[in-house]
Symmetry: C2
Subunit: 222 residues, 2 copies
DNA sequence: CGCTCGATGTTTGTATACAATATGACGTAG
DNA sequence: CTACGTCATATTGTATACAAACATCGAGCG
């Protein structure tokens, strides 16, 4: 992570997720180069990577723009994510090791701690949630599945979603993780897949509701 | 397609698929630059793109190698492709337009023509087969699904697979396309998904059989 | 004999200059 | 007033030189 292109990648990605770079905004290589304090060469690398992860889009004449996810786009992404991650959960159910189950248990405890109290610790929730799902992907033992989810779906969706959660959603999320653990305990792939699908559908509706409420400014920087 | 990086991309991709560049072989930027007659800059672009499409892999120290697909890798890829493309077929079944159905019909007729006679025209088969599946993806109206399939699964798998088909496999492929058309005619998403899944599973076993027969040299250049 | 460390060449990363292409503004003809 | 072509400018693409990182191999040491 010490290469200039890596640093530029992270920096641009953060600016996109925080909203410093607004959806639809054009990204000029030279401008980004100045912001990141590097030359255009590593910026171009970073943009290609961000493009392959759907953070950035390019038009016909190769100009880059911050990806603008409509509600339909998000639903499409959630639909795919539900399909892929429930598949992963099913595979994981029959492959997960006792150690991984224990990791998942500890991870979900950390999630409960993060959302206890008056002011839920959203960054901690997000991080533990990311780890939880990452362990499942690992247990599913399908590199390509993991690649697909991380590259195209997971990051843009997950990272934006939890910002929408209210307390109740956060609690539900924790409970669904518990149910997933139960399904893993019984090594029941169908149950695991169903729980995961439900988990992700609910997350989508939490997002959609918030989207309707505060239309247009779900993500605000700072 | 006139940019140097695009030409380099196609050229390297062809060399990978034809076997001129063997699986596992290291790809040096300078060497490729010389082969393609361009500088390293567009080669780097091309390699990034090929990497995102799983034609090329990179190790920890950023060196590039031709992706080496083991039988397990292929099965994993086929499994994902079956899942994604059956989903696409289901969506297409309730969205496909009469014009698209007609296109599919004509396309499959072209496939039958390509595999009739003593010497099946494999390149024509491949091309029409590609078009057939592309029309279905278009009818499924899910950009992200299309992106996912094309970027990570479809190309490496499909392009290598038909080289394995014997005459009977080719016939089956055509018949399965017909059945898909029947499912579309009834606008039956479950039927369409089931046919597509079966279609792809059979393709995998055709590949696996050929793999076992001629182990290690399924794809030979020239 | 095996190991570590360091020298050396190979390969990738970055900066910069220049070329090619797209865009938008402006002027002119119809 | 519109449509079209031309030119200026903004933006991306490419080549090249140099810097950094890495692998390889051999010498010295335990």
């Amino acid at each position: 992570m010490s290469r200039a292109s890596d640093r530029a990648y992270s920096q641009i990605r953060n600016m996109v997720l925080s909203g410093d770079l607004a959806p639809g905004e054009q990204l000029r290589e030279e401008q980004l180069a100045e912001i990141c304090g590097v030359s255009r060469t590593p910026i171009r690398d970073a943009l290609r990577r961000l493009e392959s992860e759907s953070f950035v889009r390019r038009n016909d004449s190769q100009r880059s723009f911050v990806a603008d996810w409509s509600l339909d786009d998000m639903e499409e992404a959630f639909e795919l994510r539900a399909m892929l991650e429930s598949h992963a959960a099913a595979r994981a159910a029959v492959r997960v090791s006792p150690e991984q189950v224990e990791q998942l248990r500890r991870c979900n405890q950390a999630i409960y701690r993060a959302i206890a109290g008056d002011a839920p610790d959203i960054p901690a929730f997000l991080e533990q949630n990311r780890i939880f799902h990452a362990i499942i992907m690992e247990a599913s033992a399908s590199q390509r599945l993991a690649l697909m989810l991380s590259r195209i779906i997971e990051q843009p969706v997950v990272l934006r979603t939890a910002l929408q959660y209210d307390r109740e959603d956060l609690q539900s999320s924790g409970r669904e993780h518990d149910e997933l653990l139960a399904a893993f305990g019984r090594r029941d792939p169908d149950w695991a897949a169903a729980v995961m699908k439900s988990h992700i559908r609910r997350a989508f509706h939490a997002y959609a509701d918030a989207h309707k409420r505060g239309s247009g400014r779900q993500v605000e920087g700072g």
